[in-house]
């Protein structure tokens, strides 16, 4: 490899390393510690991620998107983080409310849930949901009352879908934030939702955000997938072998 002779060469090489890498390289040091600016940028990114986890989706958003709001068995954020089992279930009262207030036995039940990033909901849902709803309408699918779930985990769609006797269910949920982005959203879909449906029976599109799969494109893509699920009456690994995802 080439040796750097001049300071200019050196700075250019260092800059190239810093620029092309997603990792925080070429950051330098103050003694053995990071430089102040580097340290604060790191803490700032973490702060944004923490806020995405800890904050709540606003009532304004829920209202403006015409979502019917419910809550899981979880009582607060602390409870949400410690008890994933409670985030997958709704109370008998909530189930009864769904049966009186929402459309029964729809072909497609759309659910929005805060998950681990309320920021992801705030940033993506206003663009994504109208496109998705139009897309489902255009494909002649019968769509249920859209629901917002506070303190929801992915599998709460099994409980809601079962209570409403939906043919298939879709949940748009905030992903665990990274330091690179706290705005990433996932869409999980299941055909024939029932409590206890294994992950392998679910179809997922992840990394939905402005810097990943843009929300508008995601809305159209999800509508396509839902139509395919309804036509083939399947989801997850049963839908297509190409969708296989292997966990670490």
């Amino acid at each position: 490899m080439a040796t750097n002779n001049s300071p200019d060469d050196h700075d250019a090489v260092l800059q190239r390393i810093a620029d092309r890498n997603p990792s925080r390289l070429g950051v330098g040091r103050a003694g053995s510690r990071p430089k102040t600016r580097t340290l604060l940028e790191f803490r700032s990114d973490h702060g944004v991620a923490r806020d995405a986890v800890q904050s709540h989706v606003s009532d304004e958003l829920v209202e403006s998107m015409g979502l019917f709001p419910i809550q899981t068995l979880v009582e607060d954020k602390d409870d949400y983080l410690a008890r994933p089992d409670k985030g997958r279930e709704i109370s008998d009262e909530t189930a009864a409310l769904l049966r009186t207030e929402c459309k029964q036995a729809p072909q497609v039940q759309v659910i929005v849930a805060d998950g681990l990033s309320s920021t992801a909901i705030e940033r993506n849902i206003p663009d994504l949901l109208p496109i998705l709803t139009d897309g489902l309408d255009q494909r002649g699918l019968d769509v249920g009352t859209p629901i917002f779930v506070r303190y929801g985990r992915v599998d709460v769609m099994d409980a809601i879908g079962e209570e409403l006797d939906a043919e298939c269910c879709l949940i748009l949920i905030g992903e665990r934030p990274g330091l690179a982005t706290a705005e990433s959203l996932s869409a999980y879909m299941v055909y024939g939702p029932k409590r206890g449906t294994p992950t392998a029976k679910k179809t997922v599109i992840s990394n939905i955000h402005a810097g990943g799969l843009p929300p508008v494109e995601a809305g159209a893509e999800i509508a396509d997938l839902i139509a395919e699920m309804c036509a083939k009456q399947a989801s997850g690994l049963d839908l297509t072998a190409d969708d296989r995802e292997f966990a670490k």
């Binding site: 260092l14 997603p22 070429g26 803490r43």
Partner: protein
């Protein structure tokens, strides 16, 4: 088997050894999620009291998963050296704690009883120990191991250089490696977690890391942390792996979730001894972490600390070069916040060392856990003289696994704070490269272009 305590005035009864072990734990969300935790602080202390009176024999006779049902139990029980066990089996767990913390009990004294201990005994005593007890005892035990260099010697603290990339981009992995080396880290291992688990990627990563080690004649070892079977296929085809890696669980069912069993690990070990590119004799690397068995529904109603101890009992079978707990990675439903992560980190390093394995720690956290960088810096400061090594990533940010750990920077800070040095051969190499002088970073340290 009913076990009772009358500490604090109220008489409390426990159903079994497993029940006492679970309830004697410091508070962890994972034990609450599993439904095995103490229901009050008074009950927790009563369980500790009851546990302190149990003999080591009672723990040996009541493994938390039955011998006939679980191969991890069989590995642990069959490894006990019976005459040593006979000498200590009448000790209570409380007496074992007092033996360990005694200033007159040396590292050699602990080595003398070690072959008589089971993982359940080690878990039990950890539950009686305060944070300071754990650090005190873990710091006085020395466990060394040798691959291309020697780790764990007194006065030495090593670091894994973890140059992960979200696209397995080899140039990026090498840039990150250069940066880490420039900070003096990498003497434990240059170890990469690949995104894609296949022989091609594993081979590429092994060749690239081996390439830089050879180019600069670095006294360290490389590793690609894909599934062990992928690594085995790669080295059979000639890929240069100095260490073979696998994640472990503390039950047979938990290991099944990881896609391994004892027969497969035995095969990997035998292959590693013959085909790894390093000098050895220690060629295995394992990672563990409290809660993984519950997340795979493979916990058998046992608490997460006891199951973690059993991981070390299994790891010991393979004379590993390095083992580390990935303590804050699993999420708040198992370890809720900085307090629980720090406690678990101290327990894990103590238990690993008491098992006699070369124990390190990935002091880390995800973004949905109630912790921040200060918590893991604190954990690293507590364990600097107890752990054989820490994980380090650029500026604490692993952009592939999406979590935070110690920064490359933290190595020199910990050496400075605790008057420690890197592994002997690695320190010499750093001096030769002009990165370190008399245990301190030089002016040019921290600059990755040293290696371009």
């Amino acid at each position: 088997m009913a076990i009772t305590s009358a500490i604090g005035g109220a008489r409390m009864t426990f159903d079994s050894v497993t029940d006492v072990l679970a309830k004697a734990n410091e508070r962890k969300t994972g034990d609450e999620l599993a439904g095995v935790a103490a229901r009050s602080d008074a009950e927790r202390v009563a369980a500790k009291d009851a546990l302190s009176e149990l003999t080591l024999e009672t723990l040996r006779e009541n493994p938390v998963v039955p011998y006939e049902d679980d191969e991890v139990t069989r590995v642990i029980q069959d490894a006990v050296r019976e005459p040593v066990y006979e000498r200590i089996k009448a000790w209570t767990v409380g007496e074992l704690r007092e033996f360990l913390v005694d200033a007159n009990t040396t590292d050699e004294d602990i080595c003398a009883i070690r072959p008589g201990l089971t993982s359940e005994m080690i878990a039990a005593v950890a539950k009686l120990m305060s944070d300071m007890d754990l650090v005190l005892v873990a710091s006085k035990m020395r466990v060394t191991a040798r691959c291309n260099n020697t780790i764990g010697e007194r006065g030495r603290l090593s670091f894994r250089l973890q140059p992960n990339d979200p696209a397995d981009d080899i140039d990026n992995i090498l840039d990150s490696t250069r940066e880490g080396l420039a900070y003096g880290v990498g003497d434990a291992v240059i170890g990469v977690n690949p995104v894609t688990d296949n022989v091609g990627t594993t081979t590429e990563i092994l060749e690239a890391t081996r390439g830089i080690i050879d180019e600069y004649d670095i006294p360290t070892q490389n590793c690609c942390l894909s599934h062990v079977t992928t690594q085995m296929d790669a080295i059979r085809e000639g890929a240069p792996a100095d260490l073979l890696f696998q994640s472990l669980a503390g039950t047979e069912a938990g290991n099944d979730e990881f896609g391994v069993d004892v027969a497969m690990l035995d095969e990997a070990y035998e292959l590693g001894k013959r085909q790894c590119s390093s000098a050895g004799p220690n060629v295995m690397y394992f990672e563990t972490g409290q809660g993984s068995e519950l997340s795979g529904d493979a916990h058998h109603g046992v608490d997460q600390l006891t199951l973690e101890a059993r991981c070390y009992g299994l790891a010991k079978r393979y004379d590993p070069f390095i083992v580390n707990t990935v303590v804050g990675f699993i999420g708040p439903e198992y370890l809720y916040d900085g307090k629980q992560v720090i406690r678990a980190g101290l327990e894990d390093v103590f238990m690993g060392k008491l098992h006699g394995i070369s124990m390190g720690i990935d002091a880390c956290y995800t973004n949905h856990i109630q912790a921040d960088q200060n918590d893991i810096e604190r954990l690293a400061m507590l364990l600097a003289e107890a752990a054989n090594y820490f994980i380090t990533v650029p500026m604490g940010d692993d952009v592939m696994l999406n979590y935070q750990s110690n920064s490359y920077h933290d190595a020199a800070s910990l050496w400075e704070l605790h008057d420690l040095r890197p592994a002997v051969a690695f320190e010499q190499w750093l001096e030769e490269r002009g990165i370190m002088r008399d245990g301190k970073l030089t002016e040019k340290a921290g600059d990755p272009t040293i290696f371009t």
